[in-house]
């Protein structure tokens, strides 16, 4: 067991190193500048409570940029590993396939979290510099953006194991949009009056990721009170779903013919 953990961390370390050297972090600098610009423009054209607008734009663009980075790094790495056969050199060693997949995913999550933390620091620095007030929910919101991006990363990684890169990206974007829209759909009269539509939506809700549970932006902006039980339930949901996706990736990769 200790040996398997050592190998997982070795693979994670070199995946992280490879990504850092590939200058993927450079993209974050451009994204960060874009983020600053968008937030600054929104703030400059606002009357009333500019700091709220800065936070709204900041968290919104942070969330979207993080998802974009997750898709960008998640779709390529496992797919390329198999396509370019670099995986052969690793699993020809005494490395179980599950160690390889967990190590790769951990390396990706590492680089993703650093990316998001850099962007979050930029966003929040601007917010505080224009007089925004600290609320602990802001930190929860950033934490949930990280969790949401990890989920997106795992969805796209699992899909890339069974499909092409383009299809994986399209399906991930669809599941992201639907995962946010599903809570709104449940409030519509179509859902309430149409039983077959209800079954379909409930089934979707049961199987596919409910990203809306990790969205705290509205709570932050309108300074609504959120119960800790809700926060912990959402966090547990995100973590359990991530665990489920990692298990799925392990099973698929274990059965996969690497030809």
């Amino acid at each position: 067991m200790t040996e398997a953990i050592y190998k997982i961390f070795t693979i994670a370390k070199y995946t992280f190193k490879e990504l850092v050297k590939s200058k993927v972090l450079l993209n974050v600098i451009f994204l960060g500048l874009g983020l600053l610009l968008v937030t600054f423009v929104a703030y400059s054209f606002t009357y009333g409570e500019p700091s709220k607008i800065a936070l709204d734009f900041g968290l919104g663009t942070l969330s979207l940029s993080s998802v974009a980075i997750a898709i960008f790094i998640g779709v390529g790495i496992l797919y390329k590993e198999i396509e370019s056969r670099t995986v052969y050199m690793i699993i020809s060693r005494p490395v179980p396939r599950f160690s390889f997949i967990i190590g790769k995913i951990l390396g990706l999550i590492g680089i993703l979290v650093i990316n998001i933390l850099i962007l979050a620091t930029i966003t929040l620095s601007l917010y505080f510099s224009i007089g925004g007030e600290f609320q602990s929910l802001i930190l929860w919101a950033v934490g949930f953006i990280i969790l949401e991006s990890v989920l997106v990363l795992l969805v796209v990684s699992v899909l890339s194991l069974i499909s092409t890169q383009t299809i994986s990206v399209i399906l991930t974007v669809i599941s992201y949009i639907c995962g946010h829209a599903i809570s709104g759909i449940k409030l519509t009269s179509t859902y309430k009056l149409n039983s077959s539509f209800q079954v379909l939506i409930d089934l979707y809700h049961f199987i596919l990721p409910g990203f809306y549970k990790l969205n705290l932006k509205d709570f932050v902006l309108y300074e609504q009170k959120v119960e800790y039980s809700y926060l912990f339930a959402s966090m547990t949901y995100g973590l359990l779903y991530s665990g489920f996706l990692i298990m799925l990736a392990i099973i698929i990769f274990d059965k996969k013919n690497l030809d």
Binding site: E18, Y88, D259
Partner: protein, 285 residues
């Protein structure tokens, strides 16, 4: 060390197309301490066989057995196997040294041993000057060399090489062949696939011929050559300011030599007509 038992592999690439039988009941074993050449034309099933041995793909039927020298099980065997794939692609944003270190850590090689082995083998592979360069800047020959170094960094007992010499210039090929022989002298078993038959003939103890997914020959190089020697002798002689060579039946050899001498010719050489492995391979085809 490894035994292929009745291995078959069928690929179903497209629902609308017929299944493709890549291997049919392939059985052979890799004996310890030898250099074994795995020959066959492109598409014969060499790489598929190696991928099955390395558990990258699973056979449709049949079994691979790993003997006690490799730990007796698939799980243990990979501690003692070094594998170099065909067309090596490595992590382009790592340096050669990082890449070797990565693989050595996965094989539980200590830092001290890693340094010793790099110091020993990097000059032999003539790659020490490029160890700290990013792999993306390597040439094809350098990729092959760093791949080879990474393959043996954990001191494996069995080294499996898939087309290790393809795409290299003659000097590069000669150098890598010398290393293969050197490793074999150190007690390593080498199993390598190739379609360059002269390379196999030069360094291998035995060969396995694969054709359309079936074994057509499995035995020692001497055995295959002596089985294909024809009862014919080549006689070279010098006459009228020209070197001439004739092929004669072995039964008629003495009479023919006598006749050449009587006609004023000088005999230069008398040699049995020994076919090359390449000629035999083409006949098998």
């Amino acid at each position: 060390m490894i035994e292929f038992c009745e291995i078959s592999k069928v690929f179903n690439t497209d629902l609308l197309k017929k299944n493709f039988q890549a291997l049919s009941n392939v059985s052979f074993s890799i004996p310890e301490g030898k250099i074994i050449g795995f020959l066959g034309a492109n598409g014969a099933g060499k790489t598929t066989s190696i991928k099955i041995a390395m558990d990258f793909i699973r056979p449709t039927s049949g079994d691979i057995l790993y003997d006690k020298s490799l730990g007796g099980s698939k799980k243990e065997a990979f501690k003692y196997i070094g594998y170099l794939p065909e067309r090596p692609f490595f992590y382009s944003h790592l340096t050669g040294r990082d890449f070797c270190k990565y693989l050595s850590q996965l094989s539980n090689v200590s830092n001290q041993l890693f340094k010793e082995r790099v110091n020993k083998w990097a000059p032999i592979f003539k790659i020490e000057h490029a160890l700290d360069r990013y792999i993306k800047n390597y040439s094809k020959g350098m990729l092959q060399r760093i791949g080879f170094l990474a393959t043996i960094i954990h001191d494996p007992k069995l080294i499996i090489l898939d087309e290790p010499l393809s795409g290299l210039d003659p000097i590069g090929r000669k150098e890598l062949k010398d290393v293969i022989v050197e490793l074999n002298k150190e007690g390593k078993t080498i199993f390598f696939s190739s379609h360059i038959i002269s390379d196999v003939e030069e360094i291998c103890d035995s060969v396995i011929f694969l054709k359309n997914g079936e074994i057509v020959f499995n035995g020692s190089v001497d055995q295959v050559i002596s089985a294909n020697i024809k009862p014919v002798t080549n006689i070279s002689y010098f006459k009228e300011n020209q070197v001439k060579t004739i092929k004669v039946d072995n039964n008629n050899k003495s009479n023919q030599i006598k006749r050449i001498i009587e006609d004023g010719g000088d005999i230069i050489s008398v040699q049995a007509d020994r076919p090359t492995l390449e000629q035999i391979f083409y006949n098998v085809k």
